[in-house]
């Protein structure tokens, strides 16, 4: 730890405040863009293709922001290479996790919709506009 800190120290003295300000501006701009996209898609239909597309773009911007924070604020970029590798390589597991789990969730939904028509029917019933103070007639669905 002492040694890596030493390395950081020497290399970091180059970057300095300028770099921090640059990264701050990047992060702010990316956040504003994300929010702009959020406002843009607010009134689009929920399952439409363009909405999914914009959500995808937002996820990419999110990863981009994450990169800025990790690389510059946590200055992982200025660490020695082996250090970077021990951190980044295990995190690659997430790629598999995310794909596998989301795929699984989606397939669960499709299978259930196919083989449990009652459940599917239940989930298409619209709830009437709720009145103030009145307890909603619990369309209590077992969650799992």
């Amino acid at each position: 730890m002492e040694q890596t800190a030493e390395v950081t120290h020497h290399e970091h003295s180059g970057g300095g405040t300028k770099e921090i300000i640059k990264v701050t501006i990047w992060l702010s701009v990316l956040t504003v863009v994300e929010l702009g996209l959020g406002f843009l898609m607010m009134n689009w239909p929920e399952e439409s293709f363009k909405r999914h597309l914009v959500k995808g773009i937002i996820v990419i911007l999110m990863l981009w922001k994450a990169f800025f924070i990790v690389a510059y604020f946590m200055h992982l970029k200025h660490e020695i290479k082996n250090m970077i590798m021990t951190i980044v390589v295990p995190l690659l597991l997430f790629v598999w996790f995310i794909i596998a789990f989301l795929y699984d969730g989606n397939s669960y939904k499709n299978l259930r919709n196919e083989y449990d028509p009652h459940k599917k029917e239940q989930s298409t019933i619209k709830v009437e506009k709720k009145e103030e103070g009145e307890e909603k007639p619990e369309v209590k669905k077992a969650v799992e």
Binding site: E46, I58, F73, G105, N106, K109
Partner: protein, 196 residues
């Protein structure tokens, strides 16, 4: 520190993936723009506004933390103290925002196990939405809270010249790593819950 943060990343990752899986496995989901649309003093109808404020508070506090770490490199005690105080204020501001939001949602009868919001298409929603929201933002808020405590300890140690005597401010660097990690997690939580 890095390895602790990595394990923490896996915890948060597991939470968020569980959330994603559940969301993919459910037919409908509430529209975040309808749920989180209040701003203190302004009332309803301002989607995304409050959470953007929270996001910027956290980003700015992360910046002041970087500045504190850098001042530590230069052995500039005064600057370390100022920036640490700013970071602590940012953290507390974020926590207050979150407290307000939770109180507000609770007043709307949203809590663990109860979800007053309907799905985007007007159908009955499950309590998964509020359960995940409160668990994950709660876990993150707890991290912010511990980060503020750590920063306060760092501030006290700086003021009592512990680091001056030690000859380096490496402790602050480690506290800084933790603080940035909290900010990093917020980037993900914010996107997953409020934007998409």
């Amino acid at each position: 520190m890095w390895y602790f943060l990595m394990s923490d990343a896996f915890t948060f990752g597991a939470f968020l993936i569980a959330y994603g899986t559940t969301r993919f496995a459910t037919n409908g989901w509430p529209d975040p723009n309808k749920v989180f649309e209040s701003f203190p003093g302004l009332g309803h109808g301002y989607p995304l506004l409050f959470v953007s404020l929270m996001t910027f508070i956290l980003i700015i506090s992360s910046v002041t933390m970087v500045l504190a770490v850098q001042a530590g490199h230069n052995m500039n005690k005064r600057s370390v103290v100022i920036n640490l105080i700013l970071t602590i204020i940012g953290g507390l501001a974020f926590l207050s925002c979150q407290a307000w939001e939770w109180t507000h949602l609770h007043a709307e009868h949203a809590w663990w196990g109860q979800n007053p919001f309907l799905n985007a298409d007007g159908t009955q929603s499950t309590t998964n939405f509020t359960n995940f929201f409160f668990t994950i933002t709660g876990f993150h808020g707890f991290h912010v809270f511990s980060g503020v405590i750590i920063n306060i300890i760092m501030l006290i140690m700086t003021l009592s010249n512990v680091f001056e005597k030690r000859g380096h401010y490496l402790m602050i660097e480690k506290a800084g790593l933790y603080w940035h990690f909290v900010d990093l997690v917020w980037v993900f939580v914010f996107t997953c819950f409020y934007l998409i």
